[in-house]
């Protein structure tokens, strides 16, 4: 898949933003007044900034409201509802904390649940795609949720939670990579099933439909070199999980905490780049891509 910057930024930042809102919702940290205001501002900048960036890749952003209509079948539509609902509930909850110094716990818990639901719906947009075997797994929602919760805990200053959750996120990330590397082969979809010519003999893409490129090739056929990918995976896991955990284990300083946040964010952006760039869409088979992977 083409790693579109707007979608990478959207999933990374809004994931973190909703993660932070989750922790604020359950009262960790139990802040009020100006401190609460600062936390909520950061969370909303991340969450809303991410959502806005996701509209950049739309062909007709001015019609975006229509995307709220099909929640019965479409995960993208459900994501829209969940995001708006959590932002509204958390705004009311945050207003209580900031302006009247009172915490309305029920509202906070409902908001926190909605925030997790938003991250889950985002992940399901990808996980539902049978056409992209690497994503079509329960590990995709687990990957998104663990990163969101871990990064949120880090931003919320919940050191112990952050350490455990970032470790869990790292393990799940590695699991997703290992499973993902076999996913296309295991899916059973290959050039033989795509053309149904396999009964005659070995199929090879001989000539593409056009000499030039097209939408399908640009959007779906992006091949990352294996060595390149391995290096990026090491960078991603180091920055996203290992380094922040190490920094959190050191005696607390604001510099170390800030470095942990920056490192985590850079790691998540790298991991998300890989999430898209490494994903093999089965349509690539028609163009002779992934021939080395599919049996």
């Amino acid at each position: 898949m083409h790693p579109a910057p707007s979608v990478i930024v959207f999933t990374s930042f809004s994931g973190l933003g909703f993660g932070l809102l989750f922790w604020l919702g359950i009262g960790l940290p139990a802040v009020t007044g100006w401190t609460a205001f600062a936390f909520f501002t950061i969370a909303y900048l991340f969450a809303v900034g991410g959502l806005v960036s996701s509209t950049f890749h739309l062909g007709h952003p001015e019609r975006a409201l229509k995307a709220f209509t099909q929640w019965r079948t479409s995960w993208l539509s459900r994501e829209g509802w969940a995001a708006v609902a959590s932002l509204i509930v958390m705004a009311a909850y945050g207003a209580g904390l900031v302006f009247v110094q009172s915490r309305w716990p029920v509202l906070g818990y409902v908001g926190a649940a909605l925030c997790l639901l938003t991250v889950f719906t985002t992940s399901m947009i990808y996980a539902q795609m049978k056409t992209i075997p690497r994503w079509n797994s329960v590990l995709t929602p687990l990957n998104y949720l663990s990163i969101s919760l871990g990064g949120g805990a880090l931003l919320a200053g919940q050191i112990t939670w952050a350490i455990w959750l970032l470790l869990a996120a790292g393990v799940l990330q590695i699991a997703a990579w290992l499973r993902g590397d076999r996913a296309l082969t295991d899916s059973g979809t290959d050039l033989a099933s795509a053309t149904r010519l396999g009964t005659i003999g070995k199929v090879r893409a001989f000539e593409p439909p056009h000499t030039g490129t097209n939408y399908l090739l640009k959007e779906f056929v992006h091949v990352v070199g294996r060595k390149h990918a391995l290096k990026l995976r090491v960078i991603a896991i180091t920055l996203m999980s290992a380094l922040p955990v190490l920094l959190l284990l050191l005696p607390f300083t604001h510099i170390a905490a800030a470095a942990a946040v920056v490192s985590h964010l850079a790691g998540v952006l790298t991991a998300r780049w890989l999430f898209f760039a490494e994903a093999e869409h089965v349509v690539g088979l028609y163009y002779g891509a992934h021939a080395g992977k599919a049996a």
Binding site: K66, F68, T73, S193, T195, I200, R204
Partner: protein, 257 residues
Amino acid sequence: MTALPERTDRKLGLVIDLDTCVGCHACVISCKGWNTENYGAPLSDQDPYGGAPSGTFLNRVHSYEVQPPEGAAQLVHFPKSCLHCEDAPCVTVCPTGASYKRVEDGIVLVNESDCIGCGLCAWACPYGARELDAAEGVMKKCTLCVDRIYNENLPEVDRTPACVRTCPAGARHFGDLSDPASDVSRLVSERGGVDLMPEQGTKPVNKYLPPRPRDRLARDAAEPTTGEIDVLAPFLEPVAETPQGFIGWLDRALEKL
């Protein structure tokens, strides 16, 4: 609504004969010609006369080489457009309801004035049958020429999809695949028509007729009593193994030098 209908009254679709397709791309051109000026937004091209042209097409023809365990490789031309799947994943992912499957004939269409151009339906289609138009920002796909097949302003012979009407090899057939007595259904059962990527669970309506083995020349020539090709075989035998006449004289003369 992007919920799929429980069932459709008919299943209009195409049957594509991989045995007869000669890979001329006439269907690609007639499709683009008809659809760029009819249903919905035109099919734009980018840099059409420059060094890196690209554009929106609803039908593209691939070519594959198939190497059997023995004998010569076979070249198969492979037209591909929307297969109007019964369980169309492209429809259910659409957040706006722009994508839908019609109850009356099973055609999968995009209502372009509702489409936000999110591209998710193209992600969900395993066959690459949907392309986001770079100029219009809306999703384009095969309409099965919905504006031809019911069009009373056209002579009856033209009320088929443009690709079917134009194919010079007769490799494309249009009809109702829910009716077992229809020409297309009979073709599918007689020739063993297949679904592409059945494991994706999309239940395509369009079927593909597999090519028949082609490299039989050697065997048939060895058995001159079977197969049409052998009618000419005796005439194709070399007239003489040794050169005769002027060439024969030249041959002998050169030999003696």
